[in-house]
């Protein structure tokens, strides 16, 4: 089930909510745009349920058959959630699985998937995010354009080993440095 909370990145086409009716209309648009086959629910204007469940921007809870939290992914990451579901099925639908908590901010998948949401609030959503955390809005756009290439990384259930992460960062840094050098030469 999806619970619709506040506008995370408001803008002219998707302003902050002032009523539950606005949220319901927004949820209907979301269902239409995304053709969601799952249940969509709408929290109240104060975000009562959202705040009780921690208030993070994009969390996922897996709740077991007894109504207890089996796994809590604080920054939703589909492969991690998928592994938790498989583990819960394997142990009969009850109990805590895979340590119960994943609080790793999976930034790369967020960068490739976040653009679709950000698009709805353009241009303000972009400028606000870029001002709040320089480079992230641009990275989200770039990540979305490059998503087929990045899929082997974004769909990994486990983070890359440290040497691979260092090599990747070094490669990006080298590409940026080369680009800057070429630009200076021109």
């Amino acid at each position: 089930m999806d619970v619709l909370v506040r506008q995370a990145h408001p803008g002219p086409g998707a302003p902050a909510y002032h009523s539950v009716e606005e949220k319901l209309a927004s949820a209907r648009a979301y269902q239409r745009d995304e053709a969601t086959p799952w249940t969509v629910l709408v929290d109240d204007l104060a975000g009562t349920v959202h705040q009780v469940y921690g208030g993070l921007s994009d969390p996922t809870y897996l709740i077991d058959a007894d109504g207890r939290v089996a796994h809590y992914t604080m920054w939703t990451h589909v492969p991690t959630v998928h592994q938790a579901i498989e583990a819960l099925v394997e142990q009969g639908g009850r109990g805590v699985v895979r340590g119960g908590l994943d609080r790793l901010p999976h930034m790369l998948p967020w960068m490739t998937a976040g653009w679709r949401g950000l698009q709805r609030g353009l241009p303000q959503s972009f400028t606000d995010l870029e001002t709040a955390a320089p480079g992230t809005a641009s990275a989200t756009w770039l990540g979305y354009q490059l998503r087929p290439l990045l899929a082997p990384l974004t769909l990994r259930a486990t983070p890359l080993p440290v040497p691979a992460r260092i090599a990747l960062l070094a490669g990006v840094a080298a590409a940026v440095a080369l680009g800057a050098r070429r630009r200076k030469r021109d």
Binding site: L4, R6, L41, T48, D58, V96, G100
Partner: protein, 82 residues
């Protein structure tokens, strides 16, 4: 609307946001920092704890109460249109 358990727990919640702060008009650095602080503090419902009950409306009409889904696992995602 709505939230039986959740409303009681919300009333007792430390550091809850008021309606206007919650529905901010502009995303700011403080919102990102709040998420990072919440992550470090493991804010939310702990694994093994009962998921607070609630009943929320569906956009197409009707509502869903979490406790009525007992007997099978439930995937609960909180997200934004933007």
């Amino acid at each position: 609307m709505i939230a039986r358990d959740a409303a009681q727990q919300f009333a007792a919640l430390d550091g809850k946001m008021e309606v206007d702060d919650y529905n901010f008009a502009h995303f700011r650095t403080k919102h990102l920092l709040a998420d990072l602080r919440a992550t470090l503090a493991k804010q939310g419902v702990r694994p093994g704890d009962m998921a607070p009950d609630f009943a929320l409306p569906r956009p197409e009409g009707g509502s869903v109460r979490l406790s009525e889904l007992r007997g099978r696992p439930v995937l609960l995602h909180f997200g934004s249109f933007t």
